[in-house]
């Protein structure tokens, strides 16, 4: 189980400060998948990295299986498996088996055990036949699966995945979804994603983040219910102003289709009809486009402080 209370993380540069997390209360129970969604810069990755001990929080508390991520960082690291977002993450010149064996041995596994476990996990993620091939011959989807297998090498209770299906095809995504579903039994899994269909399919509970804060939490149905009445409207292109752009779902000849709360639809709409809100509708309304809050520093004698921030 993961729990954070009033978690704050402020990054400070010479001329800027970013409040990446602003008092985040977050809980991810064992035995299910919890999703973090939000626009780029909302603080999802920072939250995952604080939980995984890779980033120190500025204030607040975070616990993994009851262990404080700051004072018991070493113990926390033993129970978590992490999959980060990166173009590489693996040693391309080594085979899949060698990559996993290497990481297993960093966890103190004897060679023969690490190799056997590597082969078992490659089977689990559907890469059994590719085990001896150098990773540079793998597709992006295969590499993502191998990265997940690596996170499982030491059989962690908690698995943290940052956009596990980023940039991979539908078939590979489905394979990963099935795998995560199997893994969630008895484990705590937290993932971040921008794909609302994926989130709805996998996650038992969803946290919506915006500018370092949790702005909504609940099941997919509960989050959809939060946004109330939604309409689909057909608008002339000239009627679509800046505020409506994020609600555009498609275009037709001479018509732009939006899904949005009724009160922001202009009277010039060609048609308006009630629709059932999807998770994506709710996400767009709740999360908006609010990314990180970058503020200039105001320099003064004795140090710098954030302009108007509550650091």
């Amino acid at each position: 189980m993961i729990e954070t209370r009033s978690l704050v993380k402020v990054f400070r540069g010479r001329r800027w400060t970013v409040e990446a997390l602003r008092g985040v209360d977050f809980t991810a129970p064992r035995g299910s998948i919890t999703a973090l969604v939000g626009p780029n810069g909302a603080g999802k990755t920072t939250l995952l990295k604080v939980i995984s001990t890779l980033i120190l929080p500025t204030s607040g508390e975070a616990y993994v299986d009851g262990m404080d991520v700051v004072s018991r960082a070493k113990d926390v690291r033993r129970v978590i498996g992490l999959v980060t977002v990166s173009d590489r993450l693996l040693y391309y010149r080594l085979s899949g088996v060698d990559n996993l064996t290497f990481y297993g041995m960093l966890y103190g596994m004897p060679t023969s055990y690490a190799r056997a476990r590597a082969r078992d996990l490659l089977e689990l993620v559907g890469l059994g036949e590719w085990g001896e091939e150098p990773v540079m011959h793998y597709s992006t989807g295969m590499m993502r699966r191998l990265a997940i297998a690596r996170a499982l090498m030491h059989d962690p209770d908690v698995i943290l995945l940052d956009e596990p299906t980023l940039g991979i095809d539908a078939a590979s995504s489905r394979r990963i979804h099935r795998l995560l579903g199997e893994l969630s039994s008895g484990r705590t899994i937290v993932l971040t994603s921008h794909l609302m269909k994926e989130v709805e399919e996998l996650a038992g509970s969803i946290y919506v983040m915006r500018a370092g804060r949790i702005v909504a939490r609940g099941t997919a149905e509960e989050i959809k219910a939060m946004v109330g009445r939604i309409v689909e409207a057909g608008l002339k292109p000239e009627a679509v102003d800046e505020g409506l752009l994020k609600f555009v779902v498609r275009s037709e000849p001479g018509l732009v289709i939006v899904r949005a709360p009724e009160d922001i639809i202009p009277e010039s709409a060609v048609y308006v009809r009630d629709v059932e809100p999807t998770l994506e509708d709710a996400y767009v309304i709740l999360a908006g486009e609010g990314g990180a809050d970058l503020r200039p520093y105001q320099f003064r004698r004795g140090g710098a402080h954030a302009h108007g921030g509550h650091v």
Partner: protein
């Protein structure tokens, strides 16, 4: 078992298997070990060994063979650790070392051992080429030279840790690596004696562990000097190790803590 499996992981899997997979690079590296020996051999021959020996080198071929064989331990190991850290940042794998029980200290120790291992092959090849060129080594000096080499490796490990700390902060541009990699060849008494340097540069050369180590290694391996004669060298090297290792480990730890605080572990 833990140490052996980590040696297998770092030296064989991540070290040798990746290194040898770049076959052209591996071949060129081996060539680069041998070529300087011939370059300086013919330089010494062309200038006349008597003239060069008059600078205080004794037999010049013996002098430069010892210098070239052991200077790589310093420059290459320091470069290996800082380059390794930088590569792991680029690959996005550095965070996984931080997460593993082996940790960042394991990363530093075993990456250094890979650098030492590769340079031991380098040294063996150069010493063998030297023997073929007529250099005669004193078997009685092997024990003392092992002590001197161990102390050189220890102080090099400390400097490599400091170099790694700098990489964690600056990402690119590493004055410690630059100083100890480039300057050791110039000022460590590798291919010419430090006595020919201007006085102020000679003092700088005494701040380099390699200068002392080469003096001791030449004394032991070429002239069979024992521990009693080389005690001053051993003492200076022990002092270097006593300073560089704690300072290196401290700065390395501080740099990683700072990266965790600033969220820059995976930045490059």
């Amino acid at each position: 078992m833990g140490v052996m499996s980590k040696l297998y992981a770092y030296l064989y899997l991540r070290g040798f298997k990746v290194w040898i997979s770049y076959r052209t690079q591996a071949a060129l590296t081996m060539l680069s070990w041998v070529l300087p020996v011939f370059t300086y051999y013919f330089t010494g021959t062309a200038l006349g060994n008597k003239l060069v020996s008059g600078l205080g080198t004794g037999n010049y071929t013996s002098f430069m063979v010892i210098g070239l064989a052991f200077q790589g331990y310093v420059s290459s190991t320091i470069a290996t650790v800082s380059q390794r850290l930088r590569n792991e940042q680029l690959y996005g794998t550095l965070e996984y070392y931080v997460l593993s029980p082996s940790g960042i200290l394991g990363f530093l120790v075993y990456s250094s051992i890979w650098g030492f291992a590769l340079n031991s092959i380098n040294a063996a090849v150069i010493l063998a080429v030297g023997a073929a060129l007529g250099v005669r080594f004193s078997p009685s000096g092997i024990l003392v030279s092992s002590v001197i080499l161990a102390l050189l490796l220890l102080s090099t490990f400390g400097i490599a840790a400091m170099s790694g700390a700098v990489v964690m902060v600056t990402k690119q541009g590493n004055p410690i690596s630059f100083f100890f990699s480039t300057f050791t060849t110039l000022m460590g008494g590798v291919v010419f004696p430090v006595t020919i340097l201007p006085p102020y540069l000679r003092y700088v050369s005494y701040a380099i562990p390699l200068t002392w180590a080469l003096e001791g290694l030449r004394g032991a391996l070429l002239y069979g000097e024992g521990i009693a004669q080389l005690l001053p060298v051993v003492a200076v090297l022990a002092a270097f190790a006593g300073v560089t290792v704690p300072l290196g480990l401290f700065s390395y730890r501080v740099a990683f803590d700072r990266a965790r605080r600033d969220g820059t572990l995976s930045q490059y």
